[in-house]
Amino acid sequence: MELNINIIIPEIILIALAVCLIVLDFFITDKKKLNTIGICGLVIAGMSVLLGVKNGFALSGMIIQDNVAVFFKLLFILVGIYIFYMGRFFEDRIKGWKGEFYILIVFAIIGMEFLSSSYDFISFYVSLELLTITLYILTAYTKDNPHSVEAGLKYLITGALASGFLLYGISFIYGGTGSTGFGEIAGILRGGGHGLNGFVTIGLVLIILGLTFKISSIPFHVWTPDVYQGAPTPVTALLAAGSKAAGFVVLMRVLFTALGSVKEEWMLFIAVISAVTLIFGNMSAMPQKNIKRLIAYAGIGSAGYLLMGIASASVLGASSIMFYLLTYLFSIAGSFLVIVIFSHVSGSDEIDSYAGLSRRSPLLAATMFIGLLSLAGVPPLGGFIAKFYLFAAVVKEGLIWLAVIGILMAIVSMYYFLLVIKRIYLMEPVVEEKITLEPTTKLMLYGVNIAIIALGVYPGPFTDWFVQIARQLF
């Protein structure tokens, strides 16, 4: 029974930040200042993750701090900074209660941080719900927009159903092994106990199904397009980059750490889900007219790629998931920053309205170009290396058919991303007016572009580090 409060200092800083924002909301009328304070707080929390925290267990083994958790915590804080920055351009769409929007985003980030370091089914479920419930509210935040309310309701109903699956699964695992801690479950399963396997199989199937809601893959993918389209754009970016990454880190902890010794039971199951998700996501992305909806379907496809890494159940698979999520974060942050700025100027999310963007703002066009091509997986960019490692991981485990589907679907994804790029670069703009950008915005956009290119040109140090930290999961 040890508390080790010092391990959760970054989360305590974030909670303090949330409380500060609640109080300051009364005194500060210019909510842009609140936004700046939020970004500063996130930076401080990120520093504390980097500098002050030792590895170990906290709260009686409920929370683990290892290098995987450190990586994901930094990732989530980076997501948070970009989401906050996007909030600046979205603010005027929110009628009243703007401060609360930022407070809820901070709470969602706290949920993701705890999720990335949960080492017990109880703490896992509580932090998952902290994240999901804040996202329900954030999705329906623009109350005057019927799409947003509809999205929130759909998200809530699907989420409640998925939570039911998850809890039922957890109860089966608990019934089969007599424990909720990931480490203890791994120990019990490694020690044999074949009489219990039936319960564990039912439990793990239900847990995987429940978690497909968070990572937006088949069978709980139906909410994705509607919610991505209807939710406020910063929240969509949070769902795409943050919530998905959080889903994968717990999926890795549950499957690799807790249930790693029974991997024959779930490898094929995950591989089939991955294949179906890949085909469905990429095929349905083709006819989309709305950019957020397009990225939603492409996001379902990405979940399929990431599940390939889970299906390989190896250190290479886990490290390539981390690499993919890192490049995915930059692609999503860049392209959503463009989407939010563009809709701030033109008020539209339709792909057709992006016509001639390159003549209105070359930087926005270039960011969209690099972000979308990285999502598609074009060679000099980070997305290519990430996909390459994922294919390598599944081929190494003998799942060649899955890699073939993945490569075919990468070609399909090239088609629909290039359609957007064609509009941006080759078509004549409807409105000629130039879009002017603030210096900080330019800095943020250059940041993501350089990061995507750097990850593609020189991935060595990152992949080495990811392989090293992925060993801790097994």
Partner: protein, 120 residues
């Protein structure tokens, strides 16, 4: 390989059969005598006004209920804390104040934002 998933299949079958059987057997045994009063929505014994699906629901009831739950949970945590207070010492003592402080901030926020004002 696929045989590993047999328990899942058995469970799906069992659940489906069980659910259908319960509904079917119940429909055989129970008496069915619906009349107007019985089919009415139950609203604390008062005659319902309008349709629930199209009628206006005052969202304020919901806000008050949520605020009530916050304090309900707070008391729920205060009781076990009070019982083991001597064991957990000063650290636990302070920690409960942190918890109450966080709740209090939320409560004051709701108060100032007007969640407790009854607009009629």
């Amino acid at each position: 390989m696929l045989l590993n998933y047999l328990p899942v299949l058995i469970m799906i079958g069992l659940v489906a059969v069980m659910a259908m059987m319960v509904l079917f057997v119940a429909s055989l045994i129970r008496p069915s005598r619906p009349y107007y009063k019985k089919n009415q929505a139950y609203e604390c014994g008062i005659d319902p006004i309008g349709e629930a699906s199209i009628g206006k629901v005052r969202i304020h009831y919901f806000v008050i209920a949520i605020l009530f739950i916050i304090f309900d949970v707070e008391t729920l945590y205060l009781f076990p804390w009070a019982v083991v207070l001597k064991k957990i010492g000063l650290f636990g003592y302070i920690e409960m104040f942190v918890f109450i402080f966080l709740l209090l901030v939320g409560f004051i926020y709701a108060w100032i934002k007007g969640a407790l004002d009854w607009v009629s």
